[in-house]
Amino acid sequence: MTELQARGVVKAYGPTPALRGITLDVAEGEIVAVTGPSGCGKSTLLYCLAGILRPDAGQVTWRGERIDTWSEAARSRLRRTEFGVLFQFGQLVPELTAAENVALPLLLAGTGRRAGRTAALAWLDRLGVADLADTRPGEMSGGQQQRCALARALVTEPRVLFADEPTGALDTLAGEQVLGHLVRLSREQRTTVVLVTHEPRVAGYADREVMLRDGVVDGTGLGIEVPSSGGPGRSTGGLGLLVGDAGAGSVQDGLR
């Protein structure tokens, strides 16, 4: 089954085109790495697929349903229940303990406090950080924080996990531990993963790599999809309206 589909997705920030017609399919349970040099549009594509940003043109489909036309409220609900998101760093609420952070998405979805804590503890345990349950993020290493953030992204058992440079702020060993957990747990749960990275060794964790270059899929790169519609130069509507939409603030608001 096709989990996610982008068809001719175009997105600009003011006059800057970030995506110039992206077409891409992600199968259920697949781990796809989106790679390419800095500024090529990887994060923008992830935001569009995750319903955080709305494309200017083109379509985004999740399990056969077009989601780019949904209201902000509907997309926000989708992100809370079916999608999990993991960023480079700084996603944990500093005032809350690890267990409280991990339980947060469940509490927002209406789970009771006690059941939320039980689930959070189980997830922290699966990520090898059970002993940090009552520790606040400020007292954890980067790798430990990122494992908690991964637990929080997975606690709702999402269909899709979106990870944007999830190890970008970690040293190699800590990064590999996070990626090892991410891949193992995703495979166990058949979670589909969109993994954005500019590092070849991180892309090595994926089943497949989609390379971007200047806002298009680099067909010459690894012989994956070639943009089939809405190619370069296509008009990008809504100029000026979306500047700043992809800022860390709005992305995190989507999570909270």
């Binding site: 040099p37 990626l179 090892g180 891949v183 193992r184 590092e199 070849p200 060794r201 892309a203 090595g204 964790y205 994926a206 089943d207 790599e209 010459t220 790169g221 690894l222 012989g223």
Partner: protein, 181 residues
């Protein structure tokens, strides 16, 4: 890449206790899981040279006898040779000898930037596939630390090659101009 020094690895394995050739081969392939497996012939030939140089000595025969069942032990001289070798720092990449590099250059000499680019793209795909394979080895729950550390070594080198392949792809047109100016 710096080659494995098989004689020293065999000496190192013998430092743990005497063994015969077959046991040495098994220990070698287990401890260096991503190395090219040693052929028996190579083990016996190496042991022969090490014995000639006084670095190992026969230390007995297994019950069933035969030349293949001779047990070898590390000698004092062998131990000294090992210590010397360990104290010696390897020259960090004294020459740039990669075939990858040579191929791009030759493609530019005999053809054009497009030919070089085709090669770079194909090589990048092969490297990426291998990187993915080794990452799978490493993340397999049954992987031992021997497996992980060996895969890590290969992954780090593939990763470095891949960075070079990416950058060179960006530079190949300029490089072509320089080669032909």
């Amino acid at each position: 890449m710096i080659g494995v020094s098989t004689p020293h690895v065999l000496l190192g394995l013998l430092a743990q206790g005497s063994r015969h050739g077959y046991e040495l081969k098994r220990a070698h392939d287990q401890r260096l899981p991503r190395a090219r497996p040693l052929a028996f012939g190579q083990v016996y030939a190496t042991l022969g040279r090490l014995q000639r140089d006084g670095l190992v000595a026969p230390a007995g025969q297994d019950r069933d006898g035969g030349p293949d069942r001779t047990t070898y032990a590390l000698t004092g001289a062998g131990r000294d040779a090992l210590d010397l070798w360990l104290a010696e720092v390897e020259p960090p990449l004294p020459y740039v000898t990669s075939t990858l590099f040579a191929k791009v250059l030759v493609a530019l000499l005999v053809a054009d930037a497009e030919r070089a680019r085709e090669y770079l793209v194909a090589q990048r795909r092969a490297h990426t596939d291998r990187l993915r394979e080794l990452t799978a080895v490493k993340t397999d729950p049954s992987a031992t630390l021997d497996d992980v550390v060996a895969a890590d070594f290969a992954i780090a080198h593939l990763d470095a090659d891949l960075r070079w392949l990416h950058t060179t792809l960006e530079r190949v047109a300029d490089w072509h101009r320089e080669v032909h100016s």
